[in-house]
């Protein structure tokens, strides 16, 4: 479905990093921003801690009839850059597609930045700074979502923060909101 109204997003991460939650939060925010058709789903059946996992999101202005996996994403989001050594995260990425990576590396340093629009942000550092940790391990899913509005105009930072405030309470919610703001301010995009 090559409709300009449908945006397909593929998240890559490791089990426990919150890729599925990230997909869910993103589409909930997209719904607030007026996208009537949204969908988020895990790659079914491989949810083991530390193992490579995928999650998917669709954002559309209309009701979505698709129930199949995403094979040709418009956007790829990488929560753990070490995944890129073992998984071809660029597989199927559309021409002029975008890739957002949690890394210290600058966008232009990736070879594929000649072919795709690359955005980078050190979401791990942001998670550590705001103490967004589970069992002492930084959780990068909310921080990296803050960077998404810079590469996707269908979702606003405000809606992402509203959803974060809805999901978490009190001081933890505030720290998550600050992390999204930090990622939004620090993400670098090279097109």
């Amino acid at each position: 479905m090559a409709s300009r109204y449908l945006v397909e997003i593929c998240f890559h991460g490791r089990g426990g990093q919150g890729a599925v939650t990230a997909a869910n939060l993103l589409v909930a925010a997209a719904l607030i921003d007026g996208n009537k058709g949204v969908q988020a789903f895990p790659f079914f059946g491989a949810e083991r801690r530390g193992a490579p996992v995928r999650a998917f999101a669709r954002i559309s202005h209309d009701e979505i009839h698709l129930r199949s996996e995403i094979y040709n994403p418009d956007i790829v989001i990488v929560l753990d850059e070490s995944i890129m050594d073992i998984v071809d995260v660029l597989k199927g990425l559309k021409k002029n597609g975008k890739i957002l990576i949690n890394t210290r590396t600058k966008p232009g340093e990736f070879d594929f930045s000649k072919k795709f629009i690359v955005a980078t942000v050190d979401a791990t550092d942001i998670a550590l700074k705001h103490e967004i940790l589970v069992g002492g391990i930084p959780v990068v899913n909310t921080p990296i979502l803050g960077a998404v509005p810079k590469i996707l105009d269908r979702v606003t930072l405000k809606s992402i923060q509203d959803i974060v405030l809805d999901k978490w309470k009190g001081e933890l919610a505030e720290r998550n909101v600050k992390a999204t703001q930090d990622a939004y301010d620090k993400v670098e995009v090279k097109s």
Binding site: V27, L31, V38, F41, F44, R67, S68
Partner: protein
Amino acid sequence: MTEVMIDTGNYIAAKAAVMCKPDVVAAYPITPQTTLVEGIAKYLATGEYKGEYICVESEHSAMAACIGASATGVRTFTGTSSHGLLLMHEMLHWAALARLPVIMCNINRVVGPGWNIWADENDSISQRDTGWIQFYCSSNQEIFDTIIQSFKLGEHEKISLPVMISYNAFILSHTSMPVFVPNQKDVDAFLPNRAPKWKLDPDNPITFGNIILPAEYEKVRLDMQKSHEYAKKLILEISKEWKQRFGRYHGDLLEFYKCDGADYILLSMGAIGAESKAAIDNLRKEGLKFGLARVRCFRPFPKEEILKLSKKADLIVIDRNISPGMEGALFTEVKASLYDNTDAKVCGFIAGLGGKDVPFGDIEKMCKKVINGKARHIEWFGLEGV
């Protein structure tokens, strides 16, 4: 006021079930149904669900508990999947023949071995002859709406039958989509309390399920058959009423999509039924006159409507199930509905077993094979006739 809730098929199903205020929920967890019963347990913990929640030791017991509770005249709900459904098999017959409107979600999952937790409709298809009314849903909104509609249908005095609402493992059970949730008052107005004609009551003792002689037993079966026939009319009415009250409509026995002027009509169920719409859109763009008739209700089976479709178009059937030694179950039923009464051609495909993805591109390929005269009468897509 209606609120929009965004959540997975299972959590949406839990919400719908709780809004119907069942007096008893008895359930045993099984992947991928687990989050459905977790959802209900959460509502119990928060006080939003006020009924009895019975944690049982097996699915056979879950259905037995629902049967016992339902026989006392109260409203019951449960959910299961795959091997859990199969373990219930004896009790499924019992619920239907005792004419007890137990409402149940079944998350369509593969039957093993080989061990597999993904989508496949063989679990519920193999319960076809138990007497349960069977719906197959294609979106989270349809799951929500169909659960509430099913209580009204099953508990209707002329029906008094259990209803199974099936939806595909993970593709719907674990996928988040937005759903319009009406307020409780409007659900209450649509769904009155259950008013059974008879019930187990210690103050007015009666017996049921007792020995009956052959001639009487046959009447019991005929009565059940008549209720299924009546359900066809009632499903139409309930769908219409739902549309009037809540503004949403997913079809009744069938959902038609772009069938006007179609030369070929595709029949499919569940999630493939939704994906098929994307395929139909693309085929239409190419000037190919395809339409879709998504089968929502498998029992009772909409044979009259399908016969009508065959008068104006050839039919293509996709089954996510197989009756070994024969063919896909929907394919068989469709052809039986047409017998001796039509010139339409019917082709059948088996696709998506074991949770294999069925993207719209594959559905388009199946359709084009039929137009080009290259499809066999029945074909396993991707494995045969390539």
